[in-house]
Symmetry: C2
Subunit: 346 residues, 2 copies
């Protein structure tokens, strides 16, 4: 199977490309990314994919292009005969999306529309879409199952673009019965590949907890602000479903296996099903690394809820996939990446 | 005030342009439309706008362009100094949207994004968006107020594009506090201007009830199929909130008046607040026209609900607007248009 991976130079993208190749199931990949959020070398190639290439000891076909440019995408579809698409590309900062909503809607929706258009034109009918737990909005029930309500109370444009993209692709799949669509709703990916060659490399100050923690540990940042400690949780800090990025990446490999037979649209939560609090994460990180993380308590962020974690049973039953790596692995691999690459891919 | 009207050559667009000019409140208009759904003359001008020009005895500035072509829009924004935009342009067939979802999402969302981009770039901060009762999905309460839930159970991509466009514009307005956004949610516009020079001119077989009825009356179609007569309504047929298109058009004039002072985003239902059943509409039409409309009962359409009507109180209180024309006016004016233009604008 020949797979187009969009957003391949991202945190999840690079790990997914690696797992696809290492799965030894005959997957070949073609990677695209506009590197708006990734470091490129002097040839315009994404450094993280060069690293993947180093790990697997194979070249990784890559094209630096923007999905919003429909004409850039067409030659790729003409040349390559894709059997499936894994669509990961998107702007992903919640805070930035609130400040620059048009940028987020334009980029994430237009990219999705252009890609779907090419798939329809070149008869690529197997599609994996990278969605997010944010589509559930503030959960009305825990754990969140794939049948939990979506779309209600989403408080930021980033989450809306994921919700809208899901809707667009589900309607396209409904109108084109030969389409096989799998939507993967990610919970909170953390960690890094055990090689320490690839990992999360946020631009500027990290928006997410664990990269922030590891940058404090390495001395790049001074103190971790914990946003709110009066939630109704084990220790008052927010609880989330953190999942090792390598487990998440493997979920994509298992999703592709579903395309061996025709399917209706399928939706899967990718999480561990276990929630850990911010404080628990920090403690686990301190234990694994032996470093002390200075913290202070700040105000809860608008729209943040106490607890979010999923029921991952469906993915286990249907995809034969479940998260295998634990909290210690997440912390150890993150720290390995951080210490080996204190400046990220720079 | 200089107003850009998109989708100006449509049924609602042409009536809105007419009311804006006839309001004598100093509004000047600039019209754009790609005429994908309107008849153009040999110069590429929309015939319905030529007719408006004839009624008001003034030229109507018009440009045949597609909002999906961002570069076509820019020169207009550069040349004209718009004070406000009324964005009506969209593909609007529910059935077609189910068959061709990508077409609908691309056209309606991309058009909206391009237009908003231009408004931000050229600092046009007053925006009226043409939305629809379909954003409410199957109503959980009647009458529908502006606070009724939206987004849940919308069964077609057309309705989704309206819901998504609302969301996009509300987020843009939130991020740009100088923006003044008014969302108008239309119920079921029918009728025509009393001159009989402009009216609804559907391509092919009409999707909506009243154009179908009038085409049966004029002998173009043989028999009206009533979709379901076992709903829980006065006579078993579906009940909707039909509103005279001239009343609806006047709602836009009143909306513009709100821009004299800065506002937060405002949302208004434009309907009469009174529901009539399909059978009642047919009977009223027969009474006014003296024509017998042959009907037969067909299956209810998937997703159709028994009753949809709104509470229009908010528009009355805040906009000083309410529907003034009744069922008889709707039928009489539709029939006047139909008999004067049996082939529409052809």
């Amino acid at each position: 199977m020949h797979i187009l991976v969009t957003g391949a130079a991202g945190f999840i993208g690079s790990h997914t490309v690696l797992e696809l190749i290492e799965a030894n199931k005959g997957y070949t990949v073609f990677c695209v990314d506009n590197c708006s959020n990734a470091v490129a070398d002097s040839n315009g190639n994404a450094i993280c994919l060069n690293r993947v290439s180093q790990i697997v000891n194979k070249p990784i076909p890559f094209k630096n292009l923007d999905l919003c440019d429909g004409s850039a995408l067409e030659p790729i579809f003409k040349e390559q005969k894709f059997d499936a698409v894994i669509h990961l590309s998107a702007l992903k900062s919640v805070a930035e999306s609130i400040a620059e909503p048009l940028e987020y809607y334009s980029n994430n929706i237009l990219g999705c529309l252009n890609l779907v258009k090419m798939c329809l034109k070149y008869n690529v009918t197997n599609f994996v879409f990278s969605s997010s737990a944010t589509v559930y909005g503030p959960p009305e029930e825990l754990p969140i199952t794939e049948k939990s309500q979506t779309g209600k109370g989403i408080t930021n444009p980033y989450g809306q673009t994921k919700y809208m993209s899901e809707q667009i692709m589900m309607d396209v799949a409904k109108a084109n019965p030969n389409w096989n669509l799998i939507i993967l709703r990610y919970f909170n990916p953390v960690g890094a590949h055990k090689s320490g060659l690839i990992g999360e490399d946020p631009k500027g100050t990290p928006n997410n907890l664990m990269p922030y923690v590891s940058q404090v540990a390495v001395g790049k940042l001074e103190v971790l602000t914990i946003h709110g400690d009066t939630f109704d949780t084990i220790d008052g800090t927010g609880v989330r479903d953190f999942i090792h990025v390598v487990d998440l990446a493997k979920g994509h490999v298992q999703a592709l296996e579903r395309f061996k037979n025709p399917i209706e649209t399928e939706i899967y939560n990718l999480g561990t099903g276990v929630g850990y609090s911010v404080k628990q994460m920090v403690e686990a990180f301190e234990k694994v690394t032996g470093r002390k993380i200075p913290t202070k308590i700040g105000e809860a962020r608008k729209g943040d809820v106490a607890s979010v974690f999923c029921d991952p049973k469906l993915a286990e039953e249907q995809l034969g996939w479940k998260a295998e790596l634990g909290l210690e692995d997440m912390c150890r691999d993150l720290w390995n990446w951080q210490t080996k690459n204190p400046k990220g891919f720079m």
